[in-house]
């Protein structure tokens, strides 16, 4: 490999990043921990494009004709399903990983845009309940802050089995973020390195989960939709088992999904990307005749209306965003570049959510830093972003001749690479070839 200094050849196997990590591990004696999600290249929605309307399809007028975006979530069994104005929700992120101001801002933004937000591994804060018209309450293995009052205050319940950034792993909140309030909500000593359980304490398989879900329904008088969240790995079977366990909604988080803190090795090497996971989940639902009956919410790398539209076209009923929502609030803003550099990072690169020293005041429990984020301003930014990507989704849907964004379909898509074609189950552009499905 030739560099700017001919004769100096960098190893592809032991490149400078690898050498840096080996040296760091030797010096510190602990695995790397960071936030964000996978940073390496993975086949994604960028590898798909839409086939806009032409001779055989009739487009809708871009600025005039109606293209609806509303979606009903959780009407399989629940008597009070969620009615969302847009098919984009805010993913579960804990108070603890995020500041109370950030949680409130997420609630404000979601509410303004007509969608739901979600609690996280640490219970429900009064700020987020008050600011969120529609709030999904997570039931996690740790059960931190779990109580029946908050369960009843919630609009939906999400049983979390896994997360795309770490399927098979539990949560992590390092001591610097375990202040008195966070620790008190979790019934733990302050300043410890909190490692959440990865298995639920009171059920051990899909048959048990079915009974657990029935208990949650009994506890809440069968009113609230029950979601099951899975990290993308054995997605086809997990989806089928979630249906069998009685889920109203399946939340599927791909490998690109973000995290507040996880081992780097976990983030980059466990799980499968969103693209193939989504296809497998839709296949399982379709085979069970449950597609559109059990709603599918997909997360893991959703950034734009194009991503939303592609996810919906592949069969999702809605998407969920986490990392993008934090960026909309102000995460990685150039405004804080000087401070990011003091922390050894830069605006656009910052992923030390675990450290609690976030200059943007989002992934921190430091009162001074957290006060930098005005929840009203942050909420406004998030609402702007959500409305923007919703409009982008509509632009694409209209171009494909759809009067509702949920009318987008796989036939509207083709792939730019063989890998993406195989993973998404759509033809390679310019061909009718779907690797693994058709011969040519």
């Amino acid at each position: 490999m030739t560099t700017e200094n001919p004769g100096l050849v960098e190893s592809n196997l032991f490149n400078r990043d690898v050498i840096h990590e080996i040296q760091r591990a030797a010096r510190e004696g602990i695995y790397g921990i960071r936030g964000w999600g996978s940073k390496r290249y993975l086949p994604h929605f960028d590898d798909l494009v839409f086939l806009g309307a032409s001779m055989s399809r009739y487009p809708l007028e871009g600025y005039r004709e109606r293209c609806d975006t509303d979606v009903v979530i959780g009407d399989r069994y629940a008597t009070k399903p969620l009615h969302l104005k847009i098919p984009i929700t805010i993913a579960g992120m804990s108070f603890g990983a995020l500041s109370a101001q950030a949680k409130e801002a997420l609630g404000r933004g979601a509410t303004a845009a007509g969608t739901s937000t979600t609690t996280g591994d640490g219970g429900m804060t009064p700020e987020e309940r008050e600011s969120s018209t529609l709030l999904v309450y997570q039931v996690l293995p740790s059960r931190y802050g779990m109580n029946p009052d908050d369960l009843r205050k919630a609009d939906a319940i999400e049983v979390v089995l896994g997360q795309g950034a770490k399927p098979g792993g539990g949560g992590l909140l390092l001591g610097m973020k375990m202040n008195e309030r966070v620790a008190d909500m979790r019934d733990l000593p302050a300043a410890i390195d909190q490692r959440s359980a990865c298995r639920h304490p009171d059920w051990t398989g899909p048959d048990d989960l079915e009974i657990k879900i029935r208990e949650l329904r009994e506890l809440t008088d069968w009113e609230k939709p029950v979601y099951i969240k899975i990290g993308a790995s054995r997605t086809y079977y997990d989806t089928a088992l979630a249906v069998k366990a009685g889920a109203d909604v399946i939340v599927l988080d791909g490998m690109q999904g973000g995290t507040g803190a996880t081992q780097t090795v976990f983030i980059e090497h466990v799980g499968i990307p969103t693209l193939p996971a989504l296809r497998q989940a839709v296949e399982a639902l379709t085979e069970l005749d449950m597609h559109r009956k059990v709603q599918l919410i997909v997360s893991g790398g959703i950034r734009s209306g194009a991503d939303v539209a592609k996810a919906l076209a592949m069969g999702a009923d809605a998407v969920s965003i986490g990392t993008a929502a934090l960026i909309a609030l102000g995460d990685n803003s150039p405004e804080f570049d000087e401070e990011y550099r003091k922390l050894g990072s830069r605006a656009g690169y910052y992923d030390d959510y675990q450290a609690g020293s976030d200059p943007a005041g989002i992934s921190t429990q430091d009162a001074v830093l957290a006060s930098r984020l005005d929840p009203v301003v942050g909420g406004r930014r998030l609402a702007n972003y959500l409305r923007t990507i919703t409009m982008e989704t509509q632009i694409i849907a209209r171009a494909c001749g759809k009067s509702h964004v949920l009318n987008l379909e796989p036939e509207d898509l083709c792939a730019l690479s063989v890998e993406a074609a195989a993973m998404a189950g759509v033809p390679l552009a310019g061909t009718s070839w779907i690797p693994g499905k058709s011969e040519s």
Partner: protein, 229 residues
Amino acid sequence: MEQVFDLATIPLRELNQALHDCLPDASKSVWRIINPKGEHAVACGVDTPADIEIRGHVGYYCAGMNKQAHVIIHGNAGTGVAENMMSGTVRVKGNASQSAGATGHGGLLVIEGNVAARCGISLKGLNIVVCGSVGHMSGFMAQKGTLIVCGDAGYALGDSIYEADIFLKGKVDELGADCMEKNMTEEHLTFLATLLETAEVTDDPASFRRYGSARSLYNFEIDDADAHT
């Protein structure tokens, strides 16, 4: 006046709805449930000062998330009895399956027989008294509260325990990671005696040993890495 629900003829939903319709500040009510026949989620989510007597065996999650109510199960209980209970008392006259009292925040759970694995897992303030023995990994990641075992304990007792206390009268197969025997002070003896008396258990507090966290896993140190495995 006592209300009788026969689960052989009345759906569980009707029973639980009737219990949920009682307000938290209502005056005390009395309930008798017959023919549960292993039904799951019996009397879960109650938040009212009720006396609830269940005649027969129950399935999973009986009295789950209980608040205020005093529940007596005249039989055995399945997985997760009184899971995440907040207050009140739950008494099982027979044996209980795994995860009894899991993640419980408050109140008192008494099991007169034996309990299977993971009793008091992720405990968050509930006090549990087991008259018999408990299975493996009991008190796993227990954060607050107390687990009293008058019999023996299976392997990995108190694995990764935080600030909960375990009092054990019999023998333990093996302590879990970061769990150690601790001093039994006068204060602990008094607390134990009070709890045993409240649970109507006559065992001598002085015959118990106390276990809790060695706190060596609270913050990661590379030299403690072996203890994490």
